[in-house]
């Protein structure tokens, strides 16, 4: 299972690199291409040269690149696909593709399989939804837009209160200790 995961991880990185390259080359954005390649090359760094903050850097970098590339006069699907595969790779790495924790234990193998299946499902669904959304032209009514913004504001409010609660609890437990 470990070797399968590694192969799939490498495949995700390669597909991501290819799709980003296709997008940036067709738009002749060499700087964007270089940045994407650098970020994807970090994928293949072994564990000892891959610090804990690297996934965040990769995620933010790729997200900024994809968002920026959406303004380019080329189909944004390339960048979407690149981002989806890159995210899949990051998720696989976070679940221990390169750690020695993977073993022949039944439970661990089952988890590895389950995780891969769900991840593949997420990737395919995201690709399909993105593809369909890009091909379809739809207009959001103004009232729906207001509702959407209100919903986002409420979610943010909930999220911030949750974060504050969490940090308060943490502080109290630290004091108790």
């Amino acid at each position: 299972m470990k070797s399968n995961s590694k192969t799939l991880y490498a495949l995700c990185g390669i597909i991501s690199a290819l799709t980003f390259s296709a997008g940036f080359i067709s738009a002749q954005q060499w700087l964007g291409l270089a940045a994407a390649m650098v970020l994807i090359v970090f994928y293949f760094l072994p564990k000892q040269f891959y610090p804990d903050w690297m996934p965040i850097v990769q995620l933010v970098g790729l997200l900024l690149l994809s968002a920026g590339a959406s303004f380019l006069p080329v189909p944004p699907f390339f960048f979407f696909a690149g981002l989806i595969f890159a995210l899949a790779g990051l998720e696989m790495r976070s679940q221990g593709v390169f750690t020695s924790g993977f073993s022949n234990l039944q439970g661990q193998n089952a988890y590895s399989r389950t995780h891969l299946v769900w991840l593949a499902g997420v990737c395919l669904t995201s690709l399909l939804l993105c593809g369909i959304s890009l091909t379809m032209e739809f207009k959001i009514p103004f009232i729906l837009m207001i509702l959407l913004v209100a919903g986002i504001a409420y979610l943010n409010y909930r999220l911030i209160s949750l974060l504050i609660d969490h940090s308060n609890k943490k502080r109290i437990s630290e004091k108790d200790q």
């Binding site: 968002a67 981002l83 221990g96 089952a110 986002i152």
Partner: protein, 419 residues
């Protein structure tokens, strides 16, 4: 919710705001992968977690550096859990040798999982009460944490050195058959003397050659009685005694010496007790045999240095805990003011043995004051040891920075005494 979920929410917010400000549809569509990710996590997250756990240890008492295997059994009595992570606390001094207790597992309904890992550890008592488990969706977005009772305890005994060559014979004070020569006639194997035959003496004890020299009388051989000695081990765990370079090493060596001496004395058949002087007085009452040795080693496993002021000097040492005329084996690096209390013990009729570890590698420095202070401290210590030796207290000292020094010094001690 995990940190990952918060991060995704932040990214979604940022993307939506960017899309609204830039009025770009493609930027808004970038939210899709994250939304799908969150949605799948929410759908696949376990609703109710019902687990049963058990912890088994391969061994309950072992020596320092030997592997201990912990076997955790997790039984799922609820619905299937796509991702289950065991959160096992690591202890200081514990080194993982095999397995990973924090790996993720998938467990289906009424399935039983066995997770095992092996660790090596330094001296101590390693105890677990609860087992923390984290059940979540396959991506670890929506977590549920539960703590279940899974007690376990392992004693890691201090490393012991072989003191078989250390043949120290204390004066016995317990009138019971044992291994120590008592300088009194009685049952034994070492020849003591001869006396006139008394009715009731065994015929095999008659000294026939001597009897031939004295016609009409029979002479009987007498043997030296062998008896048990009462031995008290006094381990100095005052933090003040170890405020020096290599203090931690000195303390570990003291503990090792206490364990080795206890093993040696108990294996000879003596009655051994122990007193550890740290934050509280740790006392092991006198006893014999394997169980007594286990009691002593268990106390030594968990002992640490103490900083309580009332035990900073040996003045208040409750020496009456040791039986009269027993041997007290003091294991201490010694403080300059300890000599009067040691002489008091001697005056009260106790037999004494002093085992003292020392770190003789001075700190290399060009500072003249430090060099001078080191020399003065060394001289002061040498003086104290000399004074103690003048009281006819046998002293065994060894350098903790040299391997095998402890056992060789104890062996050499015998050679010096038997010369």
């Amino acid at each position: 919710m995990s940190k990952k979920t918060y991060l995704i929410f932040i990214i979604l917010n940022a993307l939506i705001l960017a899309a609204l400000f830039s009025r770009n549809r493609a930027v808004a569509l970038l939210c899709i992968p994250f939304l799908v990710f969150l949605g799948v996590g929410a759908v696949a997250a376990p609703r109710k977690v019902a687990l049963r756990v058990n912890r088994e240890l391969s061994i309950l008492r072992t020596a320092e550096g030997l592997p201990v295997t912990v076997r955790l059994t997790v039984e799922n009595i609820g619905g299937g859990i796509p991702r289950l992570q065991v959160i096992e606390p690591g202890f200081q001094g514990m080194e993982l040798v095999e397995g990973d207790p924090t790996s993720c597992f998938s467990i289906s309904q009424s399935e039983k999982l066995e997770i095992s890992y092996t660790f090596k550890a330094s001296r101590g008592i390693y105890s677990w009460q609860m087992l923390k488990l984290q059940a979540s969706d396959p991506f670890g977005l929506f977590e549920q944490t539960c703590e279940l009772s899974a007690p376990g305890r392992v004693y890691i005994f201090p490393e012991q050195v072989d003191l078989r060559q250390f043949k120290f014979r204390p004066m016995p004070n317990v009138r019971s058959t044992g291994p120590n020569l008592s300088r009194l006639p009685g049952p034994g194997i070492d020849f003591w003397g001869v006396r006139e035959y008394h009715p009731g003496d065994a015929l095999r004890t008659i000294h026939w050659r001597k009897s031939a020299h004295h016609p009409g009388t029979l002479i009987t051989k007498e043997f030296e009685r062998e008896e048990i000695a009462d031995i008290g081990i006094l381990l100095d765990a005052r933090a003040l005694s170890y405020y020096c370079v290599d203090g931690e090493k000195l303390f570990e060596h003291s503990v090792r010496a206490a364990a080795s001496l206890a093993t040696n004395f108990i294996s000879q058949g003596n009655r051994v007790s122990m007193l550890i002087l740290n934050d509280r007085l740790v006392r092991v009452f006198p006893g014999y045999g394997k169980h007594q040795l286990l009691r002593i080693l268990e106390e030594l496993s968990g002992c640490s240095k103490g900083e309580r002021v009332s035990f900073d000097t040996l003045k208040y040492l409750p020496v009456k805990l040791f039986p009269n005329h027993s041997l007290i084996a003091i294991i201490s690096p010694l403080l300059p003011g300890d000599f009067p209390y040691i002489s008091r013990l001697k005056a009260e009729g106790y037999q004494l043995l002093l085992a003292t570890p020392e770190a003789t590698n001075p700190v290399k420095t060009r500072n003249a004051y430090i060099t001078c202070a080191q020399r003065m401290a060394a001289l002061e210590r040498a003086g104290t040891l000399k004074q103690i030796q003048r009281l006819r207290v046998p002293v065994v000292k060894w350098n903790v920075n040299q391997p095998q020094e402890m056992s060789s010094q104890f062996a050499r001690f015998v050679k010096v005494k038997t010369r």
